[in-house]
C-alpha cells in the first residue's frame, strides 16, 4: 500500500515537472495565436490561461513523443471554439458573395492591375490587419496565422489542424484571398486606394 501511494506521489510530481519542461516553453506561440484569434489582449489572456489549465489537467492524456505544440494548439482551438463561437460578432464577418464579386472583377479586369500594388496597403496598421484577420472564418484564419505570422510549415499546420497538407494549401489560398478583399476595403476607407 505504501508503495502504491508513493507511486501516486512521485508520478504526480513527475508529471508536473514534465509539464513545465515540455508545455510552458510554448507559451509565446500560443499567446500570439490567442491574440490573433480573439483580437484583444483580455480575451487572449483568458484563453491562454484556460488552455494551460486544461492541458495540465489532461497532461496524462498527452502521448509522449508526439508534437506537444500541436497538442496544446488543439486544446486552445477547442477552448476558443467553446468560449467564443457563440459570441462572434456577425457584422464583422466576411460576406462570401461580396468576396466572390470582388474576385470576378479582379479576374475580369485583368488588364488593369492598378489594384494589385503592394504600396496601396503600405499605410495599413497592425490593428487593421488584426481586425481583417478576425473577420475571416476560423478555418481560414487559423492557417493564415500559422503560416504567415508564425512561419510554420504546411506539414506542421496540417498536424495542428488535423487535415491533409492539400487542405492546408487550398485553405491558405482562399484565406489569403478573403483577407486581401478585407484589406482592400480598409485601404479604400482610409483613402489609400482610389474610389472608382
Amino acid at each position: 500500500m505504501l508503495a502504491f501511494f508513493l507511486a501516486i506521489i512521485s508520478s504526480t510530481k513527475g508529471l508536473h515537472k514534465e509539464f513545465e519542461r515540455e508545455a510552458i516553453p510554448h507559451m509565446d506561440i500560443l499567446y500570439n495565436y490567442a491574440l490573433r484569434m480573439t483580437g484583444n489582449a483580455d480575451d487572449a489572456r483568458d484563453l491562454l490561461q484556460e488552455t494551460f489549465l486544461k492541458a495540465y489537467r489532461f497532461w496524462d492524456k498527452y502521448e509522449k513523443g508526439t508534437n506537444v505544440r500541436a497538442w496544446l494548439f488543439r486544446i486552445m482551438k477547442n477552448t476558443y471554439i467553446n468560449l467564443y463561437r457563440k459570441a462572434v460578432k456577425e457584422p464583422d464577418t466576411v460576406d462570401y458573395n461580396d468576396i466572390q464579386n470582388f474576385y470576378n472583377i479582379i479576374r475580369e479586369n485583368s488588364a488593369d492591375a492598378n489594384d494589385l500594388q503592394e504600396k496601396l496597403f503600405g499605410h495599413l496598421l497592425d490593428d487593421d490587419v488584426t481586425k481583417a484577420l478576425e473577420s475571416l472564418p476560423e478555418e481560414f484564419r487559423t492557417v493564415v496565422i500559422l503560416c504567415d505570422i508564425e512561419g510554420l510549415t504546411y506539414e506542421e499546420i496540417a498536424e495542428f489542424v488535423e487535415c491533409p497538407v492539400g487542405t492546408v494549401r487550398s485553405r491558405l489560398h482562399r484565406g489569403r484571398k478573403l483577407l486581401y478583399a478585407k484589406l482592400f476595403e480598409y485601404a479604400k476607407k482610409r483613402g489609400f486606394v482610389g474610389k472608382d
Binding site: L2, A113, R176
Partner: protein, 274 residues
C-alpha cells in the same frame, strides 16, 4: 500547366515550396495568363502585408507568472484530493508517514528553461541588477524553480552556490522563484518575489569578496564605501527603479523593484539582515 493546376499551386508558389521544374512551369503560365497572374499577386501581396505589419509579441511577464501560478494552484488542488485519501486511511502509520513525506515535498516545481538569464555586457553589479530586473519584467529572465515556500527556493539555489543565498519570507509575497547563472566565471543567484499588489522584486546575489575585491565583476566606489560603512546602499534610477544593496553573511544582495522606496525598505527590513 493549365489554369486549374496553376490555381492549385498558388499557395505553394507564394510560400516558395515549388521544385524547380514546377516553378518554371508556374512562372511560364503566369506570364501568358493575366487572370491567373493577378490571382497569384493577390496571395503574394497579402502574405507580404501580413508579414510586414503584424508583429509577434512576447507573453507579458505578469501573464506568464499568472499562468504558472494557476497551474501551481491546480497542482495543489490535485494534492488535496490525495490528502483526502490519506486522511481516510489515517489509522495506517505507514500512510501517515507517507503523508508527512508528501507535505515535505511541498508545492515545488522545476522549470527547465534554457538560457533563463540574459548575458550582460556590463561588469557593474548595479547595472546588471537593473538589466536583470527589466528582463524579469519583460518575461525574458524566468525562474527555473518556483515555490510558495522561500525555504524550498533557498534549498534549490544553495545546492550549487558557494555563498549563503538570502531568500526570506517577505510579507505579502505570493510566491518566489530562483535561477542560477554565471558571469565571467562568477556564480550568481537570482531571486524573484511576487509581492501581491506591488509587483515583482528582483534580488541579485553574489559572493561578497568577488563583489568588493574581485576583478571579474565590479561595484562603484561609492556603493563599496557605503556598504563598508553602513552595511547597505541605496540608489534610484532616472526611471524610478529603486536599487537596494546589502550584505548577508558572505553574500552581496542587490534588490531592484518599482516598489516605492519606503515600502521596499520596510519590506526588506522585516527580515532584518541590515
Amino acid at each position: 500547366m493549365d489554369c486549374r493546376k496553376f490555381l492549385e499551386l498558388i499557395s505553394e508558389a507564394v510560400d516558395d515550396r515549388l521544385q524547380s521544374d514546377l516553378k518554371h512551369q508556374f512562372s511560364h503560365h503566369a506570364n501568358i495568363c493575366l487572370p491567373c497572374r493577378n490571382e497569384y499577386e493577390v496571395d503574394r501581396i497579402t502574405k507580404s502585408i501580413v508579414r510586414a505589419t503584424v508583429h509577434r509579441r512576447e507573453v507579458p511577464s505578469e501573464l506568464y507568472y499568472a499562468v504558472l501560478t494557476e497551474v501551481q494552484k491546480s497542482q495543489s488542488s490535485q494534492r488535496s484530493w490525495l490528502e483526502v485519501i490519506f486522511g481516510e486511511a489515517f489509522l495506517n502509520p505507514a500512510v501517515a508517514l507517507v503523508a508527512l513525506i508528501m507535505v515535505a515535498v511541498g508545492a515545488v516545481s522545476l522549470l527547465q528553461r534554457e538560457n533563463a538569464v540574459p548575458i550582460s555586457a556590463d561588469k557593474n553589479i548595479i547595472a546588471q541588477s537593473i538589466n536583470n530586473f527589466s528582463a524579469t519584467m519583460a518575461g525574458v529572465l524566468k525562474p527555473t524553480f518556483i515555490s510558495h515556500d522561500p525555504g524550498d527556493v533557498k534549498d534549490y539555489l544553495a545546492k550549487d552556490t558557494p555563498f549563503e543565498v538570502d531568500v526570506a519570507a517577505l510579507s505579502g509575497c505570493d510566491w518566489c522563484g530562483g535561477v542560477l547563472s554565471s558571469f565571467n566565471g562568477v556564480k550568481l543567484a537570482h531571486v524573484v518575489y511576487k509581492i501581491g499588489g506591488e509587483g515583482l522584486l528582483y534580488v541579485y546575489q553574489v559572493d561578497i569578496n568577488e563583489a568588493m575585491h574581485g576583478t571579474r565583476i565590479s561595484l562603484p566606489e561609492n556603493a563599496k564605501a557605503s556598504l563598508a560603512k553602513t552595511g547597505w546602499y541605496f540608489e534610484q534610477t532616472p526611471d524610478k527603479c529603486n536599487v537596494v544593496l546589502w550584505k548577508h553573511k558572505n553574500t552581496l544582495c542587490a534588490a531592484v523593484s518599482m516598489i516605492e522606496r519606503e515600502k521596499m525598505v520596510a519590506l526588506l527590513s522585516e527580515k532584518g539582515p541590515w
